[in-house]
Symmetry: C2
Subunit: 305 residues, 2 copies
């Protein structure tokens, strides 16, 4: 816990990028989730890592919506060992059952430490990664099962002191759209290509420390589906690894047990070097995640190869 | 970096277990590697996260041998959100090209913070996880390739001040045995069962922030191979998830590129509830890792099912 409190809704920290939090994998997404929990723990009178509801059951601050907005010069896959980051995190109140964290991630010394919605949602600092992370408190409704999770606020969670987010930026509007349309795109372009693949939830990699499908695994599974698309099109793994994700939105709608076979539909538009992808993940026919990505290449000579 | 220096070879820190560093996956192993690098950075006048050799090329403190020794009451898969740990890390000198880190991981307040080899190698505190991590400085011999990595010490690496490990505990003896015999076992018991499986290095999960096969992925790949053995024997995923790894030794002998198809041979002895496994991972016929594990069950009613 290195976070320094800036005001009643904001903390900031300097982070050294370690092997355990970067690479072409979901480790940085996992780190973002930890920063959300750390921020809530610092500012909301509840230990997000060990929270319990009135029944004494564990309750988890579970992601419902994630957006990671980046630039060609500063993006998740571009982070490497030894990079030093300023990470400023601000919380916004959404009642007792939900909370929004905004994280602004910049190279050390690269920018202002405050997070103001009007500035944040312009996404106009090319040296920043902007992260929206909307979370809900949930608990299991049946022991040992990862399906049928229900909302459940922890004892002592303080949120009245947090600022309200201006309606114009409401994540609810955004994720409700994704939930009903199965995409974050306002309009689906013509000429899509589709790949459908099955993925079996892997007991050796995909679960977290309480046995739920780890939120960062939704990023891994999405990335794995894109890799299958790369292969199917005969594109190089090298170009896959050099891709730049300028924007990823991901809405969580359900969890899954180990060994569940997920059906993943990937729609793609554009051409190598500038593409949109829409990914829908289903478990037993029920949609458990929707993600939309904007992916460009780094412009190297082998792109699209 | 929360580590506090205890003496010229030792640091200690208190760690809160987050979702990003626990679970039935390799996240805790990854955290152990980060602690090794953090300790070297704190005590050896070199930034292990951004080290360079005399040619100006990046050099990485790469694991060569790992041992994680645990107990039924305190083991890696048993860690969960919110646990608080004391982690004491001590370095031992092995010249300019290698270094040994010993980590003792205990529940907060659970034990002495010093690490003395005579005490450490007794492995007799049932509330501690004992970690040996022998590392070598390596660099790429060809840009973009993960094969043919060579030893390469960074500029400024100070190690003369570190204590020497008594010969009786030398990891060299141990890993040389594993390298020549392809097991850490002194004698291979009779009546082994063998499973051979292929694993393709996954560009969406297995690489680290500099494009090498991430050291923690060797743990993941080993765990994946065990899961295949569980399946082949018709044993439940639930019993797989509840396994307790009392001892794992892992020796690294080579890296691999994305898409490489690794051949994994798993030998097993014993019966559900108390088993030895030996895992040999090969790339193009060359052994790149050897691991030996002692795995027991938690004693639940479904074990061995």
């Amino acid at each position: 816990m290195n976070a320094t409190r800036l005001d009643e809704s904001t903390v900031t920290r300097t982070a050294l990028v370690t092997p355990g939090m970067c690479g072409p994998n979901s480790l940085f997404a996992g780190q973002l989730g930890d920063w959300t929990w750390e921020t809530v723990t610092a500012l909301c009178d509840v230990n997000a890592f060990d929270a319990r509801n009135e029944d004494g059951s564990p309750t988890y601050l579970s992601f419902y919506y994630f957006r990671i907005k980046a630039g060609r010069d500063m993006h998740v896959n571009g982070l490497t060992f030894g990079d030093r980051l300023d990470v400023t995190s601000r919380l916004f109140g959404f009642g007792s059952e939900s909370i929004l964290a905004l994280h602004k991630v910049s190279p050390v010394g690269g920018g202002a430490l405050a997070v103001e919605p009007e500035e944040f949602y312009r996404f106009d600092d090319p040296k920043a990664v902007y992260v929206e992370n909307f979370n809900r408190w949930i608990t299991r409704s049946a022991p040992g099962s990862n399906e049928g999770l229900v909302k459940s606020s922890p004892v002592g969670f303080r949120h009245d002191h947090l600022p309200r987010l201006p309606d114009a930026y409401s994540p609810r509007r955004v994720y409700n759209h994704a939930r009903s349309r199965l995409t974050f795109l306002d309009a689906v372009p013509p000429d899509r290509e589709r790949l459908s693949v099955d993925y079996r939830v892997d007991a050796s990699r995909d679960l977290n420390g309480v046995g739920l499908l780890y939120f960062a695994s939704y990023f891994s599974i999405t990335d794995w589906a894109l890799l299958q698309l790369w292969r199917e099109r005969g594109r190089s793994t090298e170009s896959y690894l050099r891709r730049v994700v300028l924007d990823q939105q991901l809405c969580y709608l359900g969890n899954a047990d180990a060994d569940a076979v997920l059906r993943i539909d990937v729609d793609a538009w554009g051409s190598p070097g500038d593409e949109l992808f829409n990914v829908v993940i289903k478990n037993h026919g029920r949609t458990i995640a929707v993600s939309t990505l904007h992916v460009v290449s780094t412009g190297g000579s082998h792109d699209g190869a």
